[in-house]
Amino acid sequence: MAHRRFKTKARALAALAVAGGLALAGCAGGTTGSAELDGTQLLTIPREDKSTFSANFNPFSPNAMPMTQQAIYEPMFVYNPADGSTIPWLATDWVSSEDGMGVTFTLRDGVQWSDGEPMTAEDVAFSFELQKELLGGFEYLESVTADGAEVTFTYNTPFSPGLFEIGEQVIIPKHIWEGIADPANETNPKPVGSGPYTEVTNLQAQSYSLLRNPNYWQPDKQKIEGIQMLAFAGNDPANLATINGETDWADQFIPDIENAFVAKDPENREFWFPSVDAMIHLQLNTTKAPFDDADARRAISMAIDREAVTSVAMQGYTHPADCTGLSDSYDTWRSAEVVESCEWTTRDVAGANALLDEAGYPLGADGERTLPDGSPFEFDISVGSASSDWLSVANIISQNLAEIGVTATVNAPDWAVVVAGYEDGSFDSGIVWSNNAPTPFQYFRGVMSTETVVPVGEQTFQNYHRFGLPAADELLARFAASGDEAEQEAVMDQLQEVYAENAPIVPLFPGPRWGSYNTTRFTGFPNEDNPYAPLSTRSTTTVLVLTTLEPVVSE
């Protein structure tokens, strides 16, 4: 009857749906599971910060596609913070002037752009001209002159650290960019560069590939076929792909990496987190009492249990800082005397209590300290809610400070709100990064130079704690004016002494640079035993890895 007819119709429909589904599945084609590796596989790298890709390879844009400044365009030299060496790249040699007023680079012979045109000193001069026009910066740079294979940079004020800023600037082809009417808004979909992988292929919203530059100046170092970037909307999906073995090189943060990633295939999977990123601090706003008192700052620093902070909050991936405030990328500059003689970065609760008692912060009967004017010794520690590890750091510090009678409350809104508070100087204290250029010049300038101090209420992007010492200014000026290595080292030692004496900011731990890799399909990654570059896919050192990797060919 009607019921039965309906049932047969329903069954027919269901069967049709299943058949259709199976047909489509069949059409999808088989998955290439453990395929034979023939050496043409592409190096697969995930990006968790760009949920989709588009044709945007403009080297001047901070939001250009990944690998624009790493594989397509190259600088004159590459500084490796993991071992402090500088590797000549597009330039073979450079000579700084004695008085810090300039530097001359000698360009490499025979370098061609990916369209076959030769690279000349004119390209270098043009790159700086365009950079200054579009983005500004390089205020110390007076002129750039090209002469044969040599490029001379003349400054208008002594600035020896300028060597690294100039050396790491990417060079662009003049014959392409001089013809572009609006270089700032140019998306540059078919880039012409000097790098090893410049041919953009198969650009989709979810992935794109970069294949070999046919005219690269180091053809013997282009062993891998190309790079494939995959887009993800966040850390978790990127981590899933990495853990599943579908990527070869990843530098996003993977929590509990030993168990989640390495344990699945310990023979081929490894991670290495050298602490060469910026030093992470507890910054104390020196425009607010009692943070203008160096004793109070030192006492707070002595109460902090940096071992707990690094082993618990940072899962053991880094180590405590010392009194020089220098990250591991500055190991060659570190002053051994300062490290030995200074004590305010070592945990000493009794010493902290004694120091605060002497400095005039009496301990009340309730176990809480007060400032000399009677108000309670309490303040907020700001940190962005999105960084769970730094949030743990702040919580541990808060607990440590309670032991010396200081009440510190952790305040964790969105990072945008926290940074807004830093920029206008309305914060009490906070967990913050610092400058991390190739020399410690920018670091010390950003934590204790009067040149970087702005009044509360005015926006600034460094020296949020607004502390400046004329002694530091003088030393920084001497460093900038000197082209002699020995003198630079001597000045840097003195800067570290000034820093250790005054404790402008409380260093906690050097930031680890994340990086992990999988040698199933490619070998030659750097690691602790072979630190020829850190494992970052988004910095100047990336090209060092790209030109060292080799594909695995299965027998």
Binding site: S54, G136, G137, A205, W415, A416, Q462
Partner: protein, 325 residues
């Protein structure tokens, strides 16, 4: 005709109000795009670079009224400007590159949920009290009230990671070139299965219940009894008489839902790494990227209003009672 003109007038007013709100609301958020970029880079950008960005992006600091007029001008010329968070890609390019996938995912999920949900609702109401009616509505509502994120991750883990039946991410296999060949369409279909199924699971309960309830009222109408008395088959009455009238509210809901398809499915895009506008909108909001935010909001507003307008017209064709009144 008068009816159409009246509705059109109403929609134009609604358009004006939503465009004004789209313009004003993002500007109430504290901060500016540059310091957002700085806070997200956390020390990887130097302070000098931050100052350079301000020059490069040429941020708009004209008075608000001028910006508002400029916004209306850009709506009519179609030039939405250049995105800040994806500088220097134009806004229209950013939206155009992802809207295809967004619509594919959203429309497929919506169509399947609507068709299956309504069919189940019709059947459940027709055999009220039967097995289908007693079990399925509460069960589907139960499934639908799970947090979508949990459901999606569970499905991904079970069917993707452990069983390996379906691909784990993206719209098609990485490295494939889009074409209209059967292989590619099959590839896209395989990648669509899990995202679409999870969306359907959470939304189907609502459609089924709504249809069931309307259907129950319709089946108690006199003309249904008359049709049965005339001797028509049960199926014919169920589908051609009762369901036809019961789908009217569903058409209205469908119209509203279709408009929001272009807003993207944020959580689906995050869990399954599916390219789409939902996550793009979230990152535009986080980065205070006004041009891109305005562009996407405008797209959503336009789509919702156009869809509703079309539904209104279609409704008049479907329901003669509206025509007459």
């Amino acid at each position: 005709m008068q009816f159409v003109l009246r509705r059109l007038g109403f929609y134009l007013v609604a358009f004006w109000v939503s465009v004004t709100l789209n313009f004003l609301l993002p500007r109430f958020m504290p901060g500016d795009p540059i310091s957002r970029m700085m806070s997200q880079s956390q020390g990887r950008m130097t302070p000098e670079q931050v100052v350079q960005m301000q020059a490069l992006f040429g941020l708009d600091d004209r008075p608000i009224l001028q910006q508002y007029i400029g916004y209306w001008q850009s709506i009519f010329t179609g030039e939405m400007g250049v995105s800040i968070s994806r500088f220097p890609s134009p806004v229209s390019e950013v939206i155009a590159s992802q809207i295809g996938w967004t619509i594919l995912l959203g429309a497929t999920a919506l169509l399947i949920a609507v068709v299956i949900g309504n069919l189940l609702g019709i059947l459940a109401a027709w055999r009220r009290g039967g097995a289908l009616d007693s079990i399925l509505p509460p069960f589907l509502v139960f499934i639908g009230s799970f947090p979508y994120f949990w459901l999606a991750m569970g499905a991904l883990y079970l069917f993707g990671v452990i069983l390996g039946w379906f691909p784990l991410r993206h719209a098609f296999s990485a490295g494939a070139t889009p074409s209209f060949s059967p292989e590619f369409i099959g590839d896209v279909a395989m990648h669509l299965v899990m995202p679409v199924t999870t969306i359907v699971l959470v939304s189907i309960g609502g459609w089924m219940l709504a249809m069931r309830n309307t259907m129950i009222t319709t089946t108690s109408e006199d003309y249904v009894v008359m049709a049965e008395a005339k001797g028509l088959t049960a199926n014919r009455i169920m589908l051609r008489y009762a369901a036809r009238n019961a789908t009217l509210p569903a058409v209205t809901n469908f119209g509203m839902a279709i408009g929001f398809v272009v807003g993207g499915a944020l959580l689906t895009e995050v869990v399954f790494a599916y390219p789409g506008l939902g996550f793009q909108l979230l990152s535009a909001v986080t980065a205070l990227d006004y041009p891109l935010m305005q562009g996407i909001f405008l797209t959503i507003t336009g789509a919702v209003l156009v869809a509703n307008f079309i539904v209104d017209i279609v409704y008049v064709r479907l329901d003669p009672r509206v025509r007459v009144s």
